[in-house]
Amino acid sequence: MKNLLVVLIPLLPLLGFAVSGLFGKRLGKSATGLLASGMVLLSFLCAAALAMLHFRTGDSAIVVNLFSWIRMPGLSIPMGLLVDPLSLMMVFVVTGIGFLIHVYSIGYMHDDDGVARFFSYLNLFTFFMLVLVLADNFAVLFIGWEGVGLCSYLLIGFWFKNHAFNGAAVKAFVVNRIGDAGFLLGLFLMAMTFGSLSFAEVFSRAASFGSGAPAITLITLFLFIGASGKSAQIPLYTWLPDAMAGPTPVSALIHAATMVTAGVYLVIRSNALYALAPLTMAIIAAVGLATAIWAGLIALSQRDIKKVLAYSTVSQLGFMFLALGMGAWSTGFFHVFTHAFFKALLFLGAGSVIHALSGEQDIRRMGGLRKALPVTYATMLAGTLAIAGIPPFAGFFSKDEIFAKVFEHAPALWAIALAGAFVTSFYMFRLFFLVFHGEFRGDATAKHHLHESPKVMTAPLVVLALGALGAGFAGLPEIFGAPHWISDFLAPVTGRGESHLSHATEWMLMGASVATGLLALLFAWVRYGVKGRVPAEDASVTGVARWSLGKFFIDELYDRAIVKPLFRFSAWIHDVLDRRGLDGAVGAIAGISPWLGQQVRLLQTGNTAFYLFAMALGVFLILFVATLR
């Protein structure tokens, strides 16, 4: 019974993919959408049944071996599924939020011709994501890993039909493959070192290596390269903003809630290895923190609503890795959990806004939408409060826990992270006020068209908003006296983290982060809510003229001393470092290949004499080196 349930979880979306892929055209749009959503819901119910039946009694894991997949001397890999608290929670996130996004897509994609194709890709993605989280060894995990990448690519390109296949898409691809290459190398090293790829065996054998063993450090580093590719960390994050070209539900499902957290999941899953590699942990923490700040700063000056959210996702993923770098596994996962709710909500809300504006994504041409889109407004507010870390919304609890762990290890990092939290709250409220408050800045026809989205789209928003409000209660801080449900549940996998902070310190930390969030809210409110600034002037120099008109001096001082430099810095990072520097460095690898390809191509002169000459030269070189050796 339980084995059947386990197998059904990934199999149902696969079935959905097959049916909607094969018969989607004949079924019609809404039937396909319902079918695809239904399959994910059934999957969710299977997981729920499994949880009811087996995880209340204290069973910690179920392993289902489907068949022996690879068997060769020294290495055997079964096609095995593993359900333990960690993978079960991930399944809930993937199928639960996935279901809501499927439902939302029925409305969002209603006018598109390729609905059947869209839903079949979505279901296929869900299948691979479930394989990824349910894998009981690294090889099966890798199948899912590659599969979600492929589906992500298909879905990004969904609306690309009429554009030339450009260098940016190739770049996004190569960047991802660099990460995958790291992952693969990690797998090879692992198979060599431990003679196995199964989680249980690898982790138990690793224990005998002791802390800081070079082999383990190397393996964990390679795995982290893979993780940072998929989870968009420095320097491999540049593909994520580009991926926003896809339909918005895709951004919500893949690029916010599920796939991008696969890297975090991988690290949490391998926590037994990472715990033995202090060097890797330090690198993870550094990369995570740097990404969190860096992406947050870039988000400040973005004008595309989805780009803001994309950089925000990169930044939040950075916070997750920061937690993992501190060894706070369950904390990292807690943030994955809450983030899935509020970020999916934000993306879907953004989708609703874009929908209402017939495809407009520039926040300078929005504004004052709260009257036209009341439900979207309310739910987006919940999401924004959650990500800004205002209690009692979900983001507060998980972020606070991360900060507490960071403070425990390194107070200096905590201060930097707090600055990051300020930036987060500021750019989110900037977005929020610009979109929903003030006057509408679009043209008349757009204004005429404004409408709230249909029920099928708003209903998922409401559910997610409730999640963004309530998800945090799954992990109440110790000082509230309630049990930390997530941490307890995950304890069989991640172990139990001990906190050494005094209650007073915890209250202090909590207060600091809430104060930071509220302060940023206030700034954003003054700047965008009250004064109705529009980002066009953010980075412009002509603000000096306005200043001379004799406005409130303090405000201008603050404006000139803090805000403008900050915006300039943000714009500078984005233009110079991000687009030309980092992106350039990563892109150089991708960019140089077509150039090299062109050279190779031109070498093919068509002149047989040259071919013969090259052959003779090759022989000569081989023999020459051979005689020298």
């Binding site: 060769m72 660099i178 051979a626």
Partner: protein
């Protein structure tokens, strides 16, 4: 022995059938004969015979590769039934020449004596020099045939000089005797032996189109009729790599120090040239030619790690590569028949023009990229895994990066197929094309279940 007999007699019969009214029976006859040969090989009937006299040996390696070659050959011959393939050579002669060439390939997979290797290479090549120019009145075909002939004969010269030097050093042509000699004189290989070994390596590197001996491949692939190209890029490549591995694992394992660095260098160069070159191509056919070059690089990696499991890895990789490539060429043939050209744009909207073809082509490209759980993934997995276990980590890292580049150009046909508006109206596949596609796709998908079996068999 029985296999050689069946194939030679079959070739002669096919030729004879052009006499009377047997022309329509040519392909059925050839297919029946090839299937018979496959059955005989599969069951191991009379493969070894005293008359072989140590010239050839049908060990498990030879049997496995012969089966692969026979299946590939059968599929290509099956494609001959299409009426719309432009060629000035009558179908009877084409079928016969393909069968002769296949015989050469099987000799290369089963040789135990250098004369068989040499004859195999020639019997494989000479019919192809002719078939490359099958479009007699087109300058492209003329050029392809001539380029192939001149560069091929040039490479044969090196191969032969190498064989002669090996003979001079060891006094024998038999792989076993050569291995024994190398075993007995481990400390210093005489320069003659060393030189001969390297020259043989060059000769075979040409056949698998490894850089810098690859220049012929794109031009010849482009200029030949697509059906011949499909044969070249599958059967010829598989036979050549089978012979390459067989020679170096049976005759020269003791001299690995003398050749492994060359293979490593050639493999790295080949990977770079193949993958980067493919990136800049606009013609699907040329793209597949460069793809063939890049896979030669991956196949060479298997050679670097001669040991238990490496022959199986090589087989899986070769099978995965050749079936996927065959699918690509059938797609090309079908698109050509439907009025499209050889450019990538001709594939646009293929998924809507003929969904079955689109799906097959996509699976093929995904397998060539190495996406799990398709056959290509296992090929790469085992080949890389073996190479890593032999401490060729740097080379494997390079190969992995290059396969990342490979992804960029293999996605282009997929994108054309699914994300572009159709380039023409829907069309039907001919029966034989549909069969070949179905069988090859089934292999690409099902080979994923084969590794266990192959590893155990070898």
């Amino acid at each position: 022995m029985s296999l050689y007999l069946i194939l030679s007699i079959l070739g002669a019969l096919v030729l004879l059938s052009s006499l009377g009214r047997g022309k329509r029976l040519v392909v059925p006859l050839a297919i029946a004969g090839l299937l018979g040969a496959l059955a005989v090989t599969g069951m191991g009937l009379g493969l070894d015979h005293p008359l072989l006299k140590g010239m050839a040996e049908f060990d498990r390696y030879a049997v496995l590769f012969s089966c692969l070659l026979l299946v590939l050959g059968t599929l290509v011959v099956l494609l001959l039934t299409n009426p719309n393939e432009r060629s000035d050579i009558p179908r009877v002669e084409m079928a016969a020449l393909l069968l002769f060439s296949l015989t050469g390939g099987i000799m290369m997979a089963s040789f135990a004596h250098l004369v068989m290797l040499f004859l195999g290479v020639e019997i494989l090549s000479i019919p192809l020099y002719i078939l490359a120019g099958a479009r007699k009145r087109e300058r492209a075909g003329n050029e392809a045939a001539l380029k192939y002939f001149i560069t091929g004969s040039f490479a044969t010269g090196f191969l032969l000089f190498g064989i002669a030097l090996i003979y001079g050093a060891t006094g024998s042509f038999s792989t076993r005797a050569i291995a024994a000699w190398a075993e007995a004189n481990p400390a210093v290989f005489t320069p003659m032996f060393h030189l001969g070994l390297l020259l043989m390596l060059v000769g075979l590197a040409f056949k698998i189109s490894a850089a810098p001996f690859h220049f012929w491949a794109p031009d010849v692939y482009e200029g030949s009729p697509s059906i011949v190209t499909s044969f070249m890029s599958t059967v010829v490549k598989v036979a050549a790599i089978a012979a390459f591995y067989r020679l170096f694992s049976e005759a020269f394992p003791a001299a690995a120090d003398a050749w492994s660095w060359v293979i490593a260098a050639v493999a790295a160069l080949t990977l770079a040239v193949g993958n980067l070159g493919a990136l800049a191509q606009r013609s699907f056919k040329r793209l597949m030619a460069y793809s063939g070059i890049s896979h030669a690089g991956f196949l060479l990696l298997a050679l670097l790690s001669v040991g238990p499991g490496s022959a199986g890895a090589l087989w899986i990789y070769a099978a995965a590569y050749s079936f996927a490539t065959l699918i690509a060429f059938v797609s090309l043939l079908a698109v050509e028949a439907a009025g499209g050209g050889e450019s990538l744009e001709a594939l646009s909207g293929l998924g809507r023009r003929n969904p079955f073809l689109g799906v097959c082509l996509t699976i093929s490209m995904l397998s060539l990229i190495g996406v799990p759980p398709l056959a290509g993934f296992f090929g790469k997995l085992f080949v890389f895994g073996n190479a890593v276990s032999q401490r060729h980590v740097v080379l494997v890292v390079f190969a992995v990066v290059m396969s990342a580049v490979g992804m960029a150009y293999y996605m282009r046909p997929i994108i054309q197929t699914w994300l572009r508006p159709p380039a023409g109206s829907p069309f039907q596949l001919s029966t034989s094309q549909a069969w070949v596609l179905g069988i090859a796709t089934a292999f690409v998908v099902l080979l994923a279940a084969a590794p266990v079996w192959v590893m155990r068999f070898l």
